[in-house]
Symmetry: none
Subunit: 212 residues, 4 copies
DNA sequence: TATGAATGAGTGTTCATTCAT
DNA sequence: GATGAATGAACACTCATTCAT
């Protein structure tokens, strides 16, 4: 990511309570502050635990780290996928938004594609086990993959199309497949000093240039 | 694999009990035969279950399928990795042996490398969940990766070196990294019709050709 | 019940806050009105939920339906039994009052008894799970049974005594036992098309007629 | 019950392993003895706990009482209904078998019916909470009711038919309804000194005699 | 040696109840 | 007073692993 987001910002609930302005003394605000503080703690804790023990870490572990009861987690994030999504929401969003920006730079579409994918790899690689869980077929985890895909696929498609149009890369590779492939290459990239996901992704993208 | 290995041959224990000849009628001999038969059944059952439910299938399921008790499995294969290794031993061996053969064909080293990797991909992709478990950091599963690597890395290195020497591919990519990458690309390739691991691996290998 | 009581009237708190008149504009008065309105909503919601999910429905469900917080429920009705009693108070009262009325009709006491019990059965059978909870020995639920009994037992006793006196039924059956029995026969009467509580209760009451 | 069955006999598994004769030294026998001993302990413990805490008592409580792990319970009785059925199997069987016997006595069918129902009441009343759970609509508990019904309904039907044929009782009451009713009357009969289920059931059956 | 019964830690999930706001 | 967020005990259920027979 362009901006190094280490911790999670407040208000990152899955349910985007997009009530932008106005911080009047509305009576409902009171609890909201409390809850929001808690949700923040939860997301931070989850992020930390995800790094330490992977995104499939026991609910209890996350709760303990956040200093809350397990019920609190279920209140805020009914599903594990909800929690994961909330934790990574900003990064995914940032990544999605970076696509058009890169395309508008004036650089060649292929270069934009390359840089965008680097961004994606940076994001995924640093999240222990995220890449793996994106592939997990555990029930409910599909929601997670769906979210990522929904958000990023259109962006990737645009980049890909542009690069095809500019004649820089071959035709015939779907964004879905590419992103899955890149995601897969990121698995296990942390804690393995002999494995550099970025380099391999570089090869993969380089492979796109090959003429038929 | 060149040869379609459907079932597992006898005597495929991890601990190569290489006591080939001699089948006297001593009672110990008899037991030996019994045990070997059992191990055979076990490996066949495990192979079948691995295909059906993945390599992380419950021990009981395998035991049931083999018609033995769970204890028997633990006796023969103390660790799950041991079992997996035993099940796939032949394929890994066949794959390892195919490397030099391909190199000796007279084809260009790059073509040989390509074909060899195709072989590997064919093997891995058809084993439900194998690719994933090769990356799993569950305790003990590292043994599994180690085995695969021990066996295949030298072969891959030779192919890679030859292709570098022949000037067909760029330098600087380790066999370890390449194999891990290819393995990763195979994850989730079954049961996802929109994802073709072979094509992506093709791109990856094509990427190697790029000049620096 | 004779009168179809669908909703609950205001002021039906367990603790009969019998402060009838006077609605000065003092702030405490205002609150009172507020609270009463709230209690009313609560009782209606509870009645609805009891029908839909039984009298053991989660507190949250009732609170949600009433549009109040769970805490509010606990404030008004410290115990679940209190809530149930409040919800059914009117019906129980109506039933209690119907006894003397029936007895005064001029019909034979036995007929009056029969009709009264029919009334009771109608009431209980239509309250999903009420009969069952009347028998539940969950802590605190005894209060509930006690309330029903306190209210209805004297009435039943009178009817019974009259019928004994008139020589229509045998002696020796207590009102307590009879009411418990009738209540029991009502359990599970809804959602079981093959089970008609009224018919069985009819048999039971008919049995009373038998000479010793 | 005729025979006062206090504890549970061995081999009362749900899955009637009806391999009657032959207690040779078959190799499979060995464990069986162990397991059977355990199952016996389990059933006794369950019976005790059912009395103490009802048939919905926590699995752990039963396991603890039996001195086994919870897994053991699940091994023997996958479902709670299985366990309950196993616990009460003998009594249900004995009750079922008593029906024809009573009918063959030479007594009038009505008397036979009365005695049979007394038997049933004796059985149910002494099992704390059994009657209640027979009415529970908790998922899976229907199996339990089904078992009781399957076993006892035919018997009851025969008795009922006979009494109708002999002209002793009125027509038009199904065995299903009658048994449900009797079962219901047994709810809460223990621990309530003022409630005598037998007497009420007597009234119910007496009610059958009434001419239309 | 083989068996498979027993174990029990581990996990997700629900819900009554309390209490800070 | 009202709110509803937080709590955490309670429970069912799974499965890897051990060990008596």
């Amino acid at each position: 990511m362009t901006e190094g987001i280490g911790s999670v910002r407040e208000g990152d609930s899955v349910r985007g309570t997009g009530q932008g302005a106005g911080q009047g003394a509305g009576q409902t605000r009171a609890k909201r502050a409390d809850a929001r503080r808690n949700e923040k703690a939860l997301l931070d804790a989850a992020a930390a635990v995800f790094v330490a023990s992977g995104v499939e870490a026991p609910v209890r572990e996350i709760a303990a780290r956040a200093g809350v009861g397990t019920g609190t987690i279920y209140r805020h994030f009914p599903t594990r996928a909800d929690l994961i999504i909330a934790v990574f929401r900003h990064q995914v969003d940032a990544c999605a938004e970076a696509g058009p920006r890169l395309l508008a730079t004036g650089e060649s579409p292929y270069v934009a594609l390359t840089k965008w994918i680097d961004l994606f790899v940076d994001f995924v690689v640093t999240k222990h086990g995220l890449a793996a869980v994106l592939r997990s077929d555990s029930a409910g985890m599909d929601t997670l993959g769906a979210y990522f895909l929904d958000r990023l696929l259109p962006v990737c498609t645009d980049l890909l199309d542009a690069a095809v149009t500019s004649g820089e890369i071959r035709d015939g590779v779907e964004a879905y497949e590419l992103m899955r492939g890149v995601g897969n290459l990121c698995i296990g990239a942390d804690n393995d000093p002999r494995y550099d996901a970025r380099r391999l992704v570089g090869l993969l993208v380089a492979g796109l240039r090959q003429p038929r």
